[in-house]
């Protein structure tokens, strides 16, 4: 009896081995690693691709929400040279960090389509002449403002400069507090010690004429009077127009304060637009978007964000994977995502597409913001970027929390950046 059971088990085992072997031959499986809110539309795009390519099965491998956690996972895949992931989503700051592990998409026919995309994104994704990732959607820091409150306090338009923002935020905050809204704040932003603070601080400094930390000629420009003044001004907001806890806020926590109607202004990425207008939102229809305020330089700056798709060097099906990437970043795919989920396309023509503009009227006004967004110094610092950014946001954070003066912190930062990157120092060029 036992022997028969054993025989049957062996038979089943062998058959199942054989069966999976046959199935694997039938379809090429392409695994796409994607995390967070991008998963649903990525699944939809995968379905579309599978329908038109019967030999391929594109699967979505779910990654953590946090971009830092995803990068950590990728690095572990790369360290093991694992072929587990074929396609991965890449944050705008990563190409320089992980370029060594990605294939050159120009070799797979991407050369002809790059001109349709924003130049800033393509430049960002080109490392030493290799196009390591295709832009999927773009992001830029924006100012969200409450139209109803502006009207209530007699303002016709959103602030044009940081000083104006300060004044308006303080007045609205005082007025609202007097009406027993004790949790109301003028301005919320992302001041936690993390990548988001690098974006925020870069916006203050660049719009004040203080440069981009490190310029494209590999010169450290961070220690200059304009940058010091900008950081000092921001430190003054903590506890006055922004809550003490702003030094612990990230995108989502600041959005929660804003979306519960407890702030007049918020700096955030475009994704908050769709959520703020959700059916259950307190501020539905009561807010609008504007470019961030300008500093002493007279122009506004928005940090460039966004995500790309790349093919892993360790993938076993690079050619098919590259084709999937081309499909997922194509005009039709980006149009679908823009309309369904308010992800900003990287293809210029989509900002003039009638069907898109019908659903996303603000694209018209913000096209210039996306076009001229300022990139973090990722490409020049390549693998050192993470350390450069960490040193930068920790220095700024120490000023925001009052541990250090802006002058001292940025002075030390310059020394630190010199020893990390080996670059020379210089003053920022004025625009």
């Amino acid at each position: 009896m036992k022997k028969t059971i054993l025989l049957i088990m062996i038979f089943v085992f062998v058959v199942s081995l054989f069966a999976t072997g046959v199935m694997a031959e039938e379809k090429t499986i392409i695994k796409v690693a994607i995390g967070g809110s991008a998963i649903p539309s990525a699944k939809k795009l995968a379905e579309m691709y599978n329908e038109s390519h019967p030999g391929v099965d594109v699967q979505i491998l779910e990654m953590p929400d946090s971009s830092t956690d995803s990068l950590n996972l990728y690095l572990q895949f790369f360290e093991a040279k694992s072929s587990e992931v074929d396609i991965l989503v890449v944050d705008v700051v990563w190409p320089g960090i992980i370029a060594d592990h990605l294939v050159d998409l120009n070799k797979y026919g991407a050369e002809e389509i790059v001109k349709d995309h924003f130049e800033a994104n393509i430049n960002n994704n080109t490392v030493e002449g290799r196009l390591v990732a295709m832009p999927w959607y773009t992001d830029a820091g924006l100012l969200f403002y409450r139209t109803d409150l502006l009207k209530k306090y007699g303002y016709n338009e959103p602030p044009k400069t940081w000083d104006e923002l300060e004044g308006m935020a303080a007045r609205i905050q005082k007025g609202e507090r007097a009406e027993r809204k004790e949790d109301f704040w003028g301005y919320v932003w992302q001041g936690n010690a993390y990548e988001g603070l690098t974006c925020n601080a870069l916006e203050w400094i660049y719009s004040n004429g203080g440069g981009t930390i490190i310029n494209n000629d590999k010169e450290i420009t961070i220690y200059n009077p304009e940058a010091v003044a900008a950081v000092k001004q921001a430190a003054g907001w903590v506890g006055s127009i922004s809550p003490e806890s702003v030094t612990g806020l990230i995108e989502e926590s600041s959005r929660h304060i804003w979306q519960s109607g407890n702030a007049a202004f918020m700096r955030n990425w475009p994704y908050a637009y769709q959520l703020g207008n959700a059916a259950d939102s307190v501020i539905k229809g009561k807010f609008d978007l504007a470019p961030l305020p300008a500093g002493d330089s007279g122009f506004a700056a928005a940090a460039l964000g966004g995500w790309q798709l790349a093919v892993s060097k360790y993938s076993k099906h690079k050619k098919i994977a590259a084709d999937v990437v081309k499909f997922m970043t194509s005009y039709d795919a980006q149009k679908y995502r823009a309309i369904e989920e308010s992800y900003n396309p990287t293809i210029k023509a989509l900002y003039k597409d009638k069907e898109v503009l019908e659903v996303r009227p603000y694209y018209n006004r913000l096209y210039d913001v996306f076009m001229s967004a300022v990139a973090r110094p990722t490409t020049v610092t390549s693998t050192k970027y993470n350390e450069v950014s960490a040193l930068f946001f920790r220095a700024v954070h120490s000023v925001l929390t009052g541990k250090d003066s802006a002058d001292n912190a940025l002075g030390y930062l310059q020394l630190d950046l010199q020893s990390v990157t080996g670059f020379e120092t210089s003053s920022p060029e004025t625009k």
């Binding site: 360290e79 612990g248 304060i257 920790r394 020893s419």
Partner: protein, 356 residues
């Protein structure tokens, strides 16, 4: 049976014992000693995590990068016109030069760690890596405060639960709840409780009784951060401490107390003459467990304060994955190992754990 064959039997037994131990030793070699020596070796190189460049042997460079520090005298600012020492008009104290003027700047810049006055002069302590030195200090303060609080509270709870009352079994089960929750999950729960607005339970409660303005930033304000972390850890691990101590209490035979009562010893005398000495081994085990655990605290810091405040382990994690400095991170790992080792030895000596 004569004497000789008896001896043979003993050596046979011994031989068998070694044979039986061999698999354990081999497994230990594979899972513990090999990775550990790998870490030791990596700590002498400049290896990059998930990097494609060549790895070089750099000797003790990583260690000196982490541990270098210096003390320099800080000269006061001399006013140009009068050649007098500049005095701050507000505080009436001497104004000193900024620290980066006296700290050496190359090849790796020293940064200010702290300043202190000694014999009328001002000194500045500089380190090449103040973040790491700070993470050591933070972790030590965290460990000492959390573990001593947990021990005292755990002892009190264990004594209470050890006494006879109805519902004792249920009480013991409920007591363990905070410890049973995964650290990352409980840290998230505390993140909400400690929220810096009236949404957070603590802020709402404290404001009701007139403390603060309902906007206390427990996890971001400098003077609250470490305190909050210690509190959460005490909440979470006191039950574990209580459980270990309770186990020790149950081993003490009841007759001893009866005898003490007959001899007329009061409760306090009973505690110090019977309970405490007999509890010492259990207490020692509990203390060692908790101390060594706290020294490598990670989840709590990572979730609640992220990169705002590092513990040794979260600094290690940042260096490895965030910064990809695998060599440096290995050196951090080795230093953590050393610190834990020192603590373990001190405990064994002090509490006499290794003596039979």
């Amino acid at each position: 049976m004569d004497r000789n064959s008896k001896l043979d039997l003993v050596t046979d037994e011994q031989r068998l014992a070694y044979k039986l131990l061999a698999p354990t030793l081999i497994i230990l070699l594979i899972v513990a000693i090999y990775p550990l020596s790998q870490v030791f070796y990596t700590s002498f190189t400049d290896r990059t995590f998930a990097g494609t460049n060549q790895t070089h042997f750099i000797g003790l460079n990583n260690y000196s990068k982490l541990l270098n520090f210096t003390i320099k005298e800080l000269p006061p600012v001399i006013e140009q016109g009068t050649n007098q020492v500049k005095i701050d008009s507000k505080t009436g104290e001497k104004v000193y030069e900024p620290s980066f003027k006296v700290l050496p700047g190359s090849p790796k810049p020293y940064k200010e760690l702290s300043q202190f006055n000694f014999l009328g002069k001002r000194y500045v302590v500089g380190a090449t890596n103040p973040e790491f030195i700070n993470s050591i200090i933070t972790t030590l303060i965290f460990t000492l405060s959390a573990v001593s609080l947990e021990t005292v509270l755990g002892l009190i709870i264990a004594l209470l639960v050890n006494s006879n009352f109805t519902g004792r079994g249920l009480m013991r089960a409920v007591m363990l709840l905070p410890w049973a929750v995964i650290t990352v999950v409980s840290a998230r729960i505390w993140e909400w409780i400690l929220a810096p607005s009236r949404v957070g339970l603590f802020n709402m409660f404290l404001e009701k009784i007139g403390i603060g303005n309902g906007q206390l930033a427990f996890l971001t304000a400098d003077n609250w951060q470490l305190f909050s972390l210690i509190m959460v850890d005490v909440w979470k691990t006191t039950p574990f401490m209580a459980l270990l101590i309770l186990a020790g209490l149950q081993l003490i035979p009841g007759e001893l107390y009866e005898a003490a009562r007959v001899d007329g010893a009061n409760k306090v005398r009973q505690f110090f003459s019977i309970t405490f000495p007999l509890l010492k081994p259990a207490l020692a085990v509990a203390l060692i467990f908790r101390t060594l655990d706290s020294l490598r605290v990670f989840g709590l810091f990572q979730v609640l304060v992220g990169q705002r405040l590092y513990s040794l382990a979260s600094y290690n994690y940042y260096q490895l994955v965030g910064n990809r400095a695998m060599g440096l991170a290995s050196a951090v790992g080795v230093i953590i190992f050393m610190i834990i080792f020192v603590f373990a030895v001190i405990y064994m000596r002090l509490l006499g754990v290794d003596s039979e």
